[in-house]
């Protein structure tokens, strides 16, 4: 039974009843209801328990400001900590109160109320210290946290994030926002207007006002219709602008997109100008037990009655310090609710206010000191401010208004300052820091006609021509005398209902030295809840100001931070999810590799690469050994496509490469290649690779896979900013040239078998040269480089041909037992040869001399990147760690990264093992290490020290474990 549903009125569809479940009981409401309005219509007043003391609580507000009743939604709607006032009712909705067990009516945690006296603000800083916090923590954690945690991702639908651009973004579709939109829309600007409510109208939805002689909502409907017909206007409802970033970049969360498969849409909007027409939020009065169910914000009571046809009580008291509550009283009375009296803290109540409720008792110059009743307000105690006897009024509803605060959150997030205005007794927008303006109630224009005027004028400043003549709105004049707290209050007077912060808590904080408003906020946790103190923060500031005898401006506000209201992480992420959460790159052979059952993993620069190609029953080690043996004894082939490749062209390429690399490149002859090393100007190793000279002016350079982008940036930066006069063009050709690298003693046989017009003899085609021609009938560039220490032919072709080449290579190599080779085997072959690897031996500290590559540091060149710094560092007192080979004795694997310490003692390290592999050549474990003064210690025994103190003696050797003279790769 909807016992408190008014017989008529409201913007609900009485023809469509909706069933829902709250705290296990079934109820009915109507389409158009929120969960809050439906509960009120059903007479449910005890809806929550408070966070700390578990006091009984009801519904306080009607929108995002709701500080009191948070619910957890279940099922596919699952969502935690939702203000009950922001949950649109839908058929089958299941909700329950947070923070109480088993229910708000029978709440075990209510026992906390007995101890309330001993747990003031910050009590936990003073106790729970012995023996340590961790002992108490689990039980305390259980008591906190509000709603339960989401258990799984939504099983239906997905999220979407997108970009948008507009000339003007308007936040809020109330009277000011709509009129602003109409103004700029008619002027032809590209407009976006977003409003957090289910329908446009803002405050007009809740109030019985008249515009141009018609019901205000008729004007809203006509305006929305006109905007809808403008192709240059995008109008979103159910869409909250929750963040205002730098350069007018704003975030919008759209909760009910028209596309049914979308759960929510995240808009990132770049706006030329922003108009905040976000309205205002009512603040409460601060008196004893101001948290009892049935104590509600006056504007919320008005909303329930006018917009939802729901009656929050039958006998109402009004408590106010401003005029707006008089209109509420009038609307309530018109709906048949008995108004017992209006308590007004002002001595002089303006005539215009009294005039709207001529028949009601107004108790001026008085305050409510306490609400009576426990699970429901039963009455209020009222005393004159000047002193005198307390009088009790019986009621079941107390509608209170402490005045209005512009919703300045977005404006403030834009880094624009706020200023305290004495007239409206609140903080209002000051000078904008970005291209933003505020209008309507968000600017402090609380009366309808003023709001309409400010909407039209603010918008007119953005377009040419005169402002629209705003329609005439009739409204009660606003006037207020601020009252930040009732001094005569008895009982707990709450400033922040959500976090149970009372006036006493704030006074205690100040007494203990936590006097800055930021200290007050942190010590008491006031304003730190999910509602971020939308109704209470200014009363905290007022309480601090009163206690310290300073002005509101001196106290100042705390920072407004995004989000304005909580927003789901799913929406922020959009559908960048699952397989696309990070980029991935394929070569033309990736699919083939996967079809072969290769163990794939991510290598540098997001390439998906094969680690090894296991046969059935094989693990990493067996497969890797097999692949290594193929290369050392027969032939193998690997896909080297991801290597970064650049074509350089111009007269000054040689000069440029001489600056970039440590060795001399400019002397290279066409047809030849040369290995080189690049340093940063700090003298740290950046990258290595091979340069090929195609002809007088054209070169190809290769970089390591992982550093290709960084090298591109590095080269372009130097050329554009340091050497703009040099004639060098850089073009990335990584994906123009893919390659299959055939390596092993039989590599030449395979090349012959493939068929080529290139003379493959060592004399005609020596190591570190390249030839253009055809291989297996495909146009190819063949390069004789080697990253394995074996005879190698790197056959480069266009990617469109790579798969065909690969098949032919495998065919041609099959008589020799050719195997595809993965990254693991490449690593082993490299370590056997002592070739450096960027992720292993180059860890950001070594220089070429440390690696035994002093030969690559040209002495002839006066300058190149890193030269000065390498020598400066080597002149310093530091002991160098130098690359050595290590042979574990006895033979065993050493974990990569294991430290070496002097004599194996538990003391600072003298190096670490950079790599350790099973050598198929030596049939034992061999490794590489960086060791202090390592070059002078060949032949010594050093000690690897593992966690726990286990020692592994290792013989220190030169770093090349295989073919130290490099005869194989030159054959």
């Amino acid at each position: 039974m909807q016992v408190n549903r008014l017989s008529h009125g409201g913007r609900i569809n009485r023809a469509r009843a909706l069933s829902f479940t709250f705290n296990g009981r079934k109820y009915q409401g109507f389409e158009g209801d929120t969960l809050a309005s439906a509960l009120i219509a059903n007479g449910v007043s005890l809806t929550a328990r408070s966070f700390k003391y578990h006091r009984p609580r009801g519904i306080v507000g009607a929108g995002v400001e709701e500080p009191s009743t948070l619910v957890e939604l279940m099922g596919n709607d699952a969502s935690a900590n939702r203000p009950v006032t922001t949950v649109p009712l839908k058929e089958g909705l299941i909700a329950k109160s947070v923070n109480c067990w088993p229910s708000p009516a029978v709440d075990i945690g209510a026992v906390n109320q007995l101890f309330a006296r001993f747990i003031p603000a910050g009590f936990y800083y003073k106790t729970f210290k012995w023996p340590n916090w961790h002992v108490y923590e689990p039980s305390i954690r259980k008591a906190t946290g509000l709603a339960g945690t989401p258990q799984e991702a939504p099983d239906q639908g997905h999220f979407e994030a997108r970009y948008a651009h507009c000339d003007v973004l308007i936040a809020g579709a109330g009277p000011a926002g709509l009129l602003a939109a109409l103004t700029v829309g008619r002027a032809g600007l590209r407009v976006m207007i977003a409003d957090e409510g289910t329908e446009a109208g803002g405050s007009l939805l809740s109030r019985k006002l008249v515009i141009d002689g018609q019901p205000a909502m008729d004007w809203v409907a006509a305006t929305v219709a006109e905007l809808h017909d403008m192709p240059n206007v995008k109008h979103l409802q159910n869409a909250t602008i929750w963040a205002y970033r730098e350069h007018n970049y704003l975030m919008v969360n759209e909760r009910a997109p028209e596309n049914a498969s979308l759960l929510e849409r995240h808009w990132r909007v770049r706006a030329g100008h922003v108009i905040t027409a976000t309205g205002a939020i009512e603040r409460g009065m601060v008196f004893g037990n101001n948290d009892r169910p049935g104590v509600m914000l006056a504007s919320a009571v008005q909303t329930y009655v006018n917009r939802y046809g729901a009656r929050p009580g039958k006998r109402a008291m009004i408590f106010t310090n401003n005029n707006s509550a008089y209109a509420v009283a009038a609307d309530l009375a018109a709906a048949g609710i008995e108004i017992v009296a209006i308590v007004d803290s002002r001595d002089d109540v303006p005539e215009v206010a009294r005039a709207v409720v001529p028949d009601l008792e107004v108790v001026a110059g008085s305050v409510v000191t306490q609400a009576q009743g426990l699970r429901r307000v039963r009455g209020v105690s009222v005393v004159p401010r000047s002193g005198g006897v307390s009088r009790t009024y019986s009621c079941d509803l107390l509608a209170h208004s402490g005045g209005w605060n512009p919703a300045v959150h977005l404006f403030s997030q834009s880094r624009s300052p706020l200023i305290y205005a004495e007239g409206p007794a609140t903080f209002v927008p000051d000078t904008p820091a970005q291209s933003v303006s505020a209008c309507g109630a968000a600017e402090g224009q609380f009366e309808l006609s003023a709001a309409l005027h400010s909407g039209a004028e603010t918008a007119a400043e953005l377009c040419e021509g005169p402002a629209l003549t705003p329609p005439e709105g009739e409204d009660l004049a606003y006037a207020i005398e601020p009252l930040w707290r009732v001094e005569q209050a008895t009982g707990k007077a709450f400033l922040d209902l959500q976090n149970d912060v009372s006036v006493d808590d704030v006074h205690l904080a100040i007494r203990e030295g936590y006097a800055n408003v930021e200290h007050v906020k942190r010590y008491t946790t006031g304003g730190m809840g999910i509602d971020q103190g939308k109704t209470g923060n200014i009363n905290i500031i007022g309480t601090v100001a009163l206690h310290q005898g300073i002005g509101m401006d001196e106290v100042g506000t705390t920072t407004f931070r995004a989000p304005y209201t909580p927003v789901s992480f799913g929406a922020i992420g959009g559908f960048r999810d699952e397989s696309v959460v990070l980029p991935y790159r394929h070569t033309p052979l990736t699919k083939w590799n996967m079809d072969q059952g290769a163990f794939m993993y991510e290598a540098g620069a997001r390439w998906r690469r094969p680690g090894y190609f296991p046969h059935p029953g094989e693990g990493l080690q067996e497969a890797t050994n097999r692949e290594c043996e193929a290369v050392r004894n027969g032939v193998g082939v690997y896909d080297g496509s991801p290597l970064g490749t650049f074509e350089l062209k111009g007269r000054d390429v040689g000069k440029f490469l001489d600056y970039l690399y440590t060795n001399i490149m400019s002397s290279l002859k066409p047809g030849f290649g040369r290995y080189g090393l690049m340093l940063s100007d700090d003298g740290l190793i950046l990258d290595d690779g091979v340069c090929l000279r195609l002809d007088e002016h054209r070169w190809i350079i290769s970089t390591s896979t992982g550093h290709a982008d960084a090298m591109n940036s590095h080269m372009e930066e130097l050329l554009q900013t340091e050497f703009p006069d040099w004639n060098v063009f850089v073009t990335t050709v990584t994906s123009q040239w893919n390659n299959a690298t055939i390596c092993g003693p039989k590599a030449r046989d395979v090349m012959v078998e493939l068929g080529t017009d290139i003379d493959l003899s060592p004399e005609a085609f020596p190591f570190m040269t390249f030839r253009d021609g055809h291989v297996a009938g495909l146009p190819a560039r063949v390069v004789r480089v080697s990253f394995t220490g074996e005879l190698s032919f790197e056959v480069n072709v266009a990617p469109r041909h790579l798969r065909a080449l690969w098949d032919k290579v495998l065919d041609a190599g099959s008589p020799h037992g050719i195997l595809p080779v993965g990254s693991e085997a490449s690593h082993v072959l490299r370590v056997e040869k002592g070739f450096l690897s960027l992720g292993h031996e180059v860890d950001g500290t070594v220089d070429p001399f440390d690696l035994g590559m002093g030969w690559v540091m040209s002495k002839k060149k006066a300058d190149y990147l890193g030269k000065r710094s390498v020598h400066l560092r080597r002149d310093g007192p530091g002991v160098r760690r130098e690359l050595v080979g290590v042979i574990p004795d006895p033979d065993r694997m050493i974990p990569e990264g294991a430290p070496l310490t002097p004599r194996g003692e538990k003391r600072p390290t003298e190096g670490f093992v950079t790599a350790c592999v099973w050598s198929v050549v030596h049939k034992r474990w061999v490794g590489l290490a960086l060791l202090e003064n390592g070059h002078a210690r060949h032949g010594e025994t050093a000690q690897v020290r593992l966690k726990g103190g286990e020692l592994i003696p290792v013989r220190v050797t030169p770093p090349v474990h295989y073919d130290p003279d490099g005869e194989k790769l030159r054959t």
Binding site: Y163, R190, V580, H586, T731
Partner: protein, 165 residues
């Protein structure tokens, strides 16, 4: 279907990267190419060949793949003087075509550039971002062509399928 749009992956396009002063490039290629566009991030088209002005002293020539060999023969990249650079890059890009009345809405999921006709109208062509990657976006008859580095092709296909679910 959530959006009035579809996408196709196009076949490899013949692409040539042209760098250097427009005058020297024109001298080398003669009448072969469409007129060099004057306005940044726009293209011109003649006889199935498009020429996009994509950066300072930087152009991109696009044609259908069968034209590739003829273009190489005419452009003679290896013989071009040092003041200009001509590099064949056909294989470096994976091309997608997104068409339909809401093609712009789909683009806006991945592309932060202002795609409104006022800013990015007929003939517009620009490198920008698409689903986090560098991408060349050009307007086509009923939508957009988007090219990304070839190795990212499968990922963009993955993304577009998600966008159009």
């Amino acid at each position: 279907m959530p959006y009035e749009a579809t996408f196709d992956r196009l076949a490899t396009q013949a692409l040539f990267d042209l760098k250097g002063p427009a005058r020297q490039l024109r001298d080398w290629v003669g009448e072969l190419l469409p007129e060099f566009p004057e306005q940044a991030n726009s293209g011109t088209m003649t006889g199935g060949k498009a020429l996009y002005y994509i950066g300072l002293d930087h152009w991109l020539l696009r044609a259908e793949l069968p034209e590739e060999q003829a273009l190489i023969a005419e452009l003679r990249p290896a013989d071009a003087p040092p003041d200009i650079s001509i590099v064949q890059i056909s294989d470096t890009q994976a091309y997608f075509r997104i068409t339909g009345s809401q093609a712009d809405e789909v683009l806006a999921i991945g592309c932060p550039m202002n795609l409104h006709a006022r800013e990015f109208g007929t003939g517009a062509a620009s490198f920008t971002e698409f689903f986090g990657l560098r991408a060349l976006v050009t307007r086509c008859d009923s939508g957009f062509d988007v090219a990304v580095e070839q190795s990212f092709g499968p990922m963009i296909e993955d993304y577009l399928n998600r966008a159009l679910r």
